[in-house]
């Protein structure tokens, strides 16, 4: 996989404390990081938290970027791991109520939520998938990433990604048909 020179250079500048470079990295990737987090976590506010945590990690670990992958791939991998952490924390605290979906002070968020929402039955079916399948389907079919990129982000072989995507879609179809039958 090629490393886009400008982006790698931006990260190098981030390491030396260049805020402008970090802002540029954020601008390039914030929407997609947020999108991945929203699709994985299923909650806008938690997705915003995860997006913030992702970029905090990017800032702190910019020096550890080896250039073996695209900067974006590296960032999305951090995003997915951040979402895993959030999900694990939520499982450890099952009694904690989930945060509200929307910031009441931001009517635009409500509009954005509606316009970006999956059909409710798809959202429900997606939520029923095992997490590994869900992540593979989200990255591949919702985010349109290539299988090698998904493999790198999830840290698994391409064959595993293919299998998860295939089985995930199969399960999704099954859940959706069940919902329709009901």
């Amino acid at each position: 996989m090629t490393v886009p020179g400008n982006e790698a250079e931006l990260l190098t500048r981030v390491v030396s404390g260049d805020r402008e470079a970090f802002d540029a990295v954020m601008r390039n990737h914030q929407n997609r990081v947020f999108s991945v987090c929203l699709r994985i976590l299923g909650d806008r506010e938690r997705a915003l938290d995860a997006t913030q945590d992702t970029f905090l990690t990017v800032f702190r670990k910019a020096g550890q970027f080896q250039g073996r992958s695209a900067v974006g791939t590296w960032i999305y991998r951090i995003a997915v791991n951040t979402c895993y952490d959030q999900l694990r924390r939520a499982q450890r605290r099952p009694s904690q109520s989930l945060p509200d979906h929307l910031d009441p002070s931001d009517p635009a968020a409500e509009e954005a939520m509606e316009s970006a929402a999956l059909r409710p039955e798809i959202e429900v079916a997606l939520a029923q998938l095992p997490q590994d399948f869900r992540n593979a389907v989200v990255l591949s079919d919702l985010e349109g990433m290539s299988l090698p990129e998904v493999a790198e982000i999830l840290g698994v072989p391409i064959g595993t990604v293919k299998s998860r995507v295939f089985r995930g879609r199969r399960l999704l179809a099954k859940h959706l048909r069940n919902q329709i039958d009901q």
């Binding site: 929407n31 699709r39 913030q52 970029f55 635009a108 968020a109 970006a116 079919d141 295939f166 179809a173």
Partner: protein, 253 residues
């Protein structure tokens, strides 16, 4: 149990096969394969129809603000600002201090004590790793520069109530952000009338992801505070404060 080549079926479904003949033959001859193929294409179509997810402007601005607040609040392992920039801030602070002391000593501002509060000299804009800054008296800007605007009232009001520190963070500011934002919202026409002609302002707005915003007001204290709103007058009247030269979002509301 019947095992069929899932790779082939999935690839056919997502259109990534260069030669589909083998896969087509397979689904013609195998009912399970055909069912799987149908399920795959169905789901791909459903998911492909999902609209793209985007953050709202407010969410972006809040993310930016919270992120930098978080980064400022923890001990920095490295300088967040190049050394030469830090030196320039310190030099600017010293220059302002010396200048103000000279002016005060000359007695030119003897009658301005009513408008003087306290503030600190310009120092490191990055916050957590900032060296303590030297305090100097704050003097509100007069309106004798020939370019005073009706907003100068706002400016001086803000100046009188402002207490700032070297850190550009909102936690150290006592600017009446909410009141100023309300005033800016009340002057809706400014959104249409205002055009940011200052290249530095434009560059800063781009940097913080507010390209489609316009500067509706500008408050000069020890730092410059830009009040910005979306250019589109139909857009939500969200007011964002950006502080210069740090170019940092310090308030959204």
């Amino acid at each position: 149990m019947h095992e069929h080549p899932l790779d082939l079926i999935a690839a056919l479904a997502d259109g990534s096969l260069s030669d589909e003949a083998e896969a087509r033959a397979l689904i013609e001859s195998c009912q399970v394969c055909r069912d799987d193929y149908m399920a795959q294409t169905e789901v791909i179509a459903w998911l492909a129809a999902a609209p793209a997810v985007e953050m709202t402007d407010l969410e972006k601005a809040t993310l930016h603000r919270d992120l930098w607040t978080e980064l400022r609040n923890q001990p920095a392992k490295r300088s967040a600002t190049p050394w030469w920039q830090r030196l320039s801030y310190i030099a600017a602070g010293l220059f302002v201090t010396v200048g103000l002391v000279g002016v005060l000593n000359s007695g030119l501002l003897g009658g301005g004590a009513d408008s003087a509060g306290t503030t600190t000299a310009v120092g490191d804009m990055e916050g957590s790793d900032a060296a303590p800054s030297e305090a100097v008296p704050f003097v509100a800007q007069g309106s004798d520069d020939g370019e005073s605007q009706p907003e100068m009232t706002t400016e001086t009001t803000a100046a009188a109530t402002a207490t700032t520190s070297a850190a550009a963070g909102e936690e150290s500011l006592a600017l009446p952000f909410e009141e100023l934002a309300d005033e800016a919202r009340a002057r809706q026409n400014d959104r249409v009338a205002s055009e940011s002609t200052d290249a530095d302002f434009e560059a800063c707005l781009t940097r913080v992801g507010l390209d489609d915003h316009v500067v509706v007001d500008e408050i000069d204290l020890d730092q410059t505070y830009l009040l910005v709103m979306r250019k589109d007058p139909e857009a939500e009247p969200v007011v964002t404060f950006v502080v210069l030269p740090a170019c940092e979002v310090v308030y959204v509301g």
